[in-house]
Symmetry: C2
Subunit: 297 residues, 2 copies
């Protein structure tokens, strides 16, 4: 079956690295893949344009962002189940000088996938419906330690009722534990003030206390302060093993060390425990809302 | 005498922290000082505006950036000399959704300080001329590891011939040594392609080889990969001492450790070795160019 993950955030926040770390895969950096121009993915603003000795910089050239939706799919195995994982990347989001309406191409991607499903549902032969709907959106927050920026709030407000939104603090190894706690509480307040709802791990009647507590913790720890890595280091507990990590002159960060980041929490939510819930909420709540609104109008 | 340092970069890149670390001072974070709204310093886009249930988000509200120039001055002592250090902060730069022309308020600040000096020079009594010209501009680059973004290139192209420009890779502890090397070479190439000149430590006829080499190294190591900190940690070599640093579960970063960042190089350039050269180039080259152009037109 399918898992479609939408990743949104400015270039260089470690989106591709995080997906590779979560799924133990090797997705290529879409920026590089699409021939990233040194102007950071903004294909409408190439080197020659800016190079025109300021006759155009800040003037005649449109500095508008071009957000390109890029997808890559891989078949992976999780928990013994074959999964078609599709990474949907909003390349160029937030990278330009003027990022007005940069959420629009993303929202229309989510909607067109809903429309595509709607078409399939309406066919006579429905045995081969493929679920290409966006099951989860990971929104990458810059680790400033201060507050969410207008672009972050605008995007989250626009998509939270269309897909399961999980905000993450990217490259959180840059912040100390105290800075993370303060940053998280500010972010949560801002999101709440803007009426943004995040994916909430559901609780079932037959759940035991431990499961209820886990579900509660997973929700309260959002946004997840994550770390990812494409490189491997020696496991300090077992030098024979190699684990994902980042090596610095002052120490080694282990991606799967719960003291180093919330990576494990995100992986639990996304893959180990609530994968089905993410797909179900997409199908039964988010898609159904979209469908009813569409059929009424 | 005066040293006027202009700091430009998006909120949260550690500008205030770096200045405090360089000069052992306690400048306040201008964002906080000016009553930073949770929308990240963009006073034209306050919480209520965005909070209006999307009726205005992405639509009627102007998302334009409001860059506010904020200054703080302190009298400090460096090398036994009393120095009036002025920190000029371009608060809100690059923080909004639409950052078109965000370089303009900064350039006009530089120009108005030149104009102010021109006025003073033209007076009858010139004994009390105060030098408020911008002696150096530190431009803070986000540590993405990828490329400079259009906003970075646009800003640097606009100011490099008006003040001594020194770009720094902010919070560089986020990048490994290899990532820093690759990032630096890409940045240098982009700057060169855009005709951006950086401050170059001058070499004098009577300089010995060691001085010539130091000057060369200081130039070649730009942009400096810096780390700053407002907190102190035990000096590993001398646990009695406290040094500026950042403590993590996986290790301790020491700001003044040359293996951990280029902080010492920047401090050498800015304070210990080339402070006079920065002020002189401002007075004899940058200001004189400005003055001639102004008198001609
Ligand atoms: N410090 C740190 N660096 C990271 C992390 N994740 C990725 N990086 C580095 O950030 C750079 C950009 O990562 P990438 O995945 O290409 O970012 P993307 O443009 O958002 O897809 C690479 O040099 C990565 O090694 C992280 O969690 N912490
Ligand atoms: N990892 C890391 N964090 C830093 C560094 N410098 C500052 N910070 C942290 O980044 C946050 C923002 O710093 P601040 O100086 O207020 O940034 P400004 O908004 O650019 O003035 C604070 O939590 C600092 O502790 C650095 O070099 N490395």
């Amino acid at each position: 079956f399918n898992l479609n993950v939408l990743c949104v955030g400015r270039t260089g926040l470690g989106k591709t690295t995080l997906i590779n770390s979560l799924f133990n895969e090797n997705f290529s950096d879409t920026g590089v893949r699409s021939g990233e121009t040194p102007d950071g993915n903004d294909q409408s603003l190439d080197e020659d344009t800016l190079g025109d000795k300021n006759s155009q910089v800040g003037g005649a050239v449109s500095m508008r962002n071009t957000v390109k939706i890029e997808t890559q799919s891989k078949t992976i195995e999780e928990n013994g189940v074959k999964l078609k994982l599709t990474l949907i990347d909003a390349a160029g989001f937030g990278d330009a000088i003027d990022n007005t309406d940069s959420w629009k191409p993303v929202l229309s991607e989510i909607n067109s996938r809903f429309d595509h499903y709607l078409d399939q549902e309406n066919r006579i032969n429905r045995t081969k419906i493929e679920d290409n709907r966006v099951h989860v959106c990971l929104y990458f927050i810059e680790p400033t330690g201060h507050y969410l920026k207008p672009l972050d709030l605008e995007f989250c407000s626009q998509v939270h009722d269309k897909c399961n939104l999980i905000p993450v603090i990217s490259k959180s190894d840059i912040l100390s534990d105290e800075e993370i706690e303060l940053f998280k509480s500010r972010i949560s307040n801002q999101l709440r003030e803007h009426g943004v709802t995040l994916f909430r791990p559901p609780v079932y009647k037959m759940d035991d206390n431990e499961t209820i507590q886990t579900s509660k913790t997973l929700y309260e720890k959002m946004p997840y302060a994550v770390v990812g890595s494409n490189s491997f280091v020696k496991d300090p507990n077992n030098p024979e093993l190699m684990v994902r990590g980042r090596e610095y002159p002052w120490g080694i960060i282990e991606v799967e060390n719960s003291n180093h980041s919330d990576f494990n929490l995100l992986r639990d939510l996304l893959i180990k425990q609530y994968l089905e819930e993410l797909r179900e909420r997409t199908a039964h709540e988010l898609y159904e809302n979209y469908r009813s609104k569409k059929l009424i109008s």
